[in-house]
């Protein structure tokens, strides 16, 4: 019975599956994969941009999860945060090793931005989503457009500062400032909402 890894109700389920995976319960590991792999593949795919590479990242990530699930509890993270960190770090590592210098094909960065909030248009979607997701999306919406775009490109596509400068056709210093202020704004906004 696959559940949506986005909702708060799934947190205890994923925690239990991780705890069982730490004990080498293969059935739990299989369920963990079924529940979370599609969402994690989406994360990897944006960063490495090729399906075969993204699936390699996913494979690496889950092999890692099997071996290190026992360190999950000590991390104190929510399950999807922990799994997303492992997947993104693997994807960023791969990106450094393969020279995919073509950042011309970033049309779908707009798609990522489209997925950012519009609570008037899709109230039901926001109800379904976890609270954390709702908060971060609304805080992203409160930023200036260049700040939001710089953060979205860096987060979803794994762009470095210099790649952001190229992509946004702006000086490196300006882009760095957008990123820094965007992050500051996000932190302040989330703290004001009583989120993390």
């Amino acid at each position: 019975m696959p559940t949506d890894p986005k909702t708060d109700q799934t947190v205890p389920i994923l925690q239990a599956l991780l705890a069982r995976t730490a004990l080498k319960d293969r059935a739990a590991f299989t369920q963990l994969y079924e529940h979370t792999a599609p969402q994690l593949l989406a994360v990897a795919l944006r960063i490495v941009r090729r399906r075969d590479r993204a699936e390699d990242v996913l494979q690496d990530a889950f092999v890692n999860v099997w071996h290190h699930a026992d360190s999950y509890a000590a991390s104190l993270a929510t399950p999807m945060t922990w799994l997303t960190s492992i997947t993104r770090n693997k994807a960023l590592d791969l990106l450094r090793h393969v020279k995919t210098a073509d950042h011309a094909n970033l049309d779908d960065s707009e798609l990522a931005l489209e997925n950012l909030p519009d609570d008037r248009a899709e109230p039901s979607r926001l109800l379904d989503a976890g609270m954390a997701q709702m908060h971060v999306q609304q805080c992203m919406a409160s930023m200036s457009a260049p700040q939001r775009q710089a953060l979205a490109l860096a987060y979803f596509h794994g762009l470095s500062h210099s790649e952001l400068a190229l992509q946004l056709a702006s000086p490196l210093g300006t882009v760095k400032a957008w990123v820094r202020r965007g992050l500051d704004k996000l932190k302040t906004c989330l703290e004001a909402r009583g989120a993390v």
Partner: protein, 250 residues
């Protein structure tokens, strides 16, 4: 603590999680996290801030092959694939394993005869030489602090599993402590319920040998109601409160 240093830590953690911290700076910051609990906490806070963004992406179903690759990489299905590869050719590994199998059967035959003799010492007029434990399955379950909490044991061919609670644990009113067997392959299955203190016994549907020969670990979860013996966990499984190895004692 120096405010500037805290601010620097915050900035590094934010750009590390975002992904814009690169190269040597990224590697150095990974090293800092290993030894520094404060750095890990700040990184975690940024992960919890940013990673909910990832949930906005539309999910992409991986191809079936990805899961097969994972199982192969972890050695779950290595042998199966080996056999498929060698179909149609002389499989020396298989022939060797048959040969080894015969060898093992021969040794097993000798051991069986020995076992028969030892359990019926009268046959050859032998007297028992030791007071060793009978052939049994034994599980010692520990709690989250690593302290021995439950001892479970059964004769190899017996149908009664004895359970002794070594360290009492909390079972909330209206719940039961459910014992599970975790086989090397496949889903865990329910064995029976464990008392919160003292001793108990679980009647097995089959001999311990049939049930536990392939079981490597045991675990206890707190469930709202007892689960029928042999049944798998519910779709929404609970975390284990006690776990331990299941060992053959012979």
């Amino acid at each position: 603590v120096n405010y500037d240093r805290l601010e620097l830590l915050n900035r590094l953690a934010a750009e590390y999680v975002l992904g814009t911290l690169r190269g040597g700076a990224r590697r150095r910051f990974v090293a800092v996290q290993r030894d520094n609990a404060r750095a890990r906490r700040v990184v975690l806070a940024w992960q919890e801030r940013l990673h909910p963004l990832a949930l906005a992406l539309p999910a992409v179903e991986p191809r079936k092959q990805v899961w097969t690759n994972i199982e192969t990489a972890l050695g779950f299905i290595a042998d199966k694939q080996d056999d498929t590869l060698s179909t149609g050719k002389l499989n020396w590994r298989k022939i060797f394993s048959w040969g080894a199998g015969f060898g093992i059967s021969a040794v097993a035959g000798v051991l069986l005869s020995l076992a028969v003799l030892l359990s019926n010492p009268g046959l050859l007029g032998l007297e028992p030489k030791t007071d060793g434990l009978p052939a049994s399955y034994v599980g010692l379950l520990t709690n989250s602090e690593g302290k021995a909490a439950v001892l479970a044991s059964s004769r190899r061919q017996g149908k009664l599993l004895s359970v002794k609670v070594l360290a009492p644990f909390v079972v909330p009113a209206g719940s039961v402590a459910q014992l599970w067997a975790l086989p090397a392959q496949g889903a865990p299955f329910a064995v029976g319920t464990v008392p919160a203190s003292g001793k108990g016994s679980i009647v097995l549907n089959d001999s311990a040998e049939k049930l536990f020969s392939n079981v490597q670990r045991l675990g206890v979860t707190i469930e709202p109601a007892a689960v029928a013996q042999g049944a798998p966990p519910a779709a929404l499984p609970q975390a284990f409160v006690l776990t331990g190895h299941c060992t053959k004692l012979w």
